[in-house]
Symmetry: C2
């Protein structure tokens, strides 16, 4: 019984997939790039190719196991889906990522999409700013 989530997503329970899912579940850094995941894999002595990491993460996204985010800075970051939907606030100073939920914003988005004649499928909201610690450092 490796991980029931893999079967739920219709994916064969292969070693790379099991390991990657485990990393996403257990790593304290909740937002990881493919490269991040790959480095952890290497660190634990696993022989998994970077291409496989990309492939598996994309499959996980398709299967609804993870979300892909396009934070500023070029590369995609992945986050395991657990708990409810949330948006992100990022520190432009130190790169810290916080999460928040705001039902009013969610509502407004749905209303806006409807008014514009769209059926909303997804949305992404990132707030960028300077966190408390970084504000102090700059002074």
């Amino acid at each position: 019984m490796e991980n029931p989530n893999l079967k739920k997503a219709g994916l064969k329970a292969t070693l790379p997939r099991i390991k990657i899912l485990q990393i996403l579940e257990e790593n304290p850094l909740r937002h990881m790039s493919a490269e991040d995941v790959y480095k952890v894999l290497l660190g634990t002595g696993e022989d998994v190719g970077l291409a496989t990491v990309y492939r598996v993460l994309t499959q996980f996204e398709t299967g609804g196991l993870v979300s892909r985010h396009h934070f500023e800075g070029g590369q995609s970051v992945f986050e395991i889906n657990q708990g409810e939907h949330h948006d992100h606030i990022l520190c432009v100073g130190c790169g810290k990522v916080d999460e928040f939920v705001d039902e009013i914003i969610e509502q407004r988005q749905r209303a806006i999409a409807k008014k514009a004649g769209y059926v909303m499928t997804d949305h992404s909201l990132y707030i960028y700013g300077m966190c408390g610690e970084c504000q102090k450092k700059k002074m």
Copy 2:
């Protein structure tokens, strides 16, 4: 009197910059990738390199003349800054981009940032969905 905006941004009035600014101002497609701009330039017989397009767009962004967006799909798109701030709603079917302004969302964002101890510097909100025409096509 080529274009007062260039001087305002502290940029020398060179031919590539004048041309690129003109394209961004006049092209009906308000959201253009560097490649898009480059193609228009080639079409008008201008001899401007793609690297210059990237450089100039980045300078325009720094100077506040344009905004850079990271829509899904890998490449950055640029939009000239005119009129007030707005967010975007994109059709996942045809790629159409609509704009909207919602003061309630703006307020909530500021409140969320403050509560989290951040000084907000920027934010990006994209709603993805299926537009009216694309909904019909799929049926």
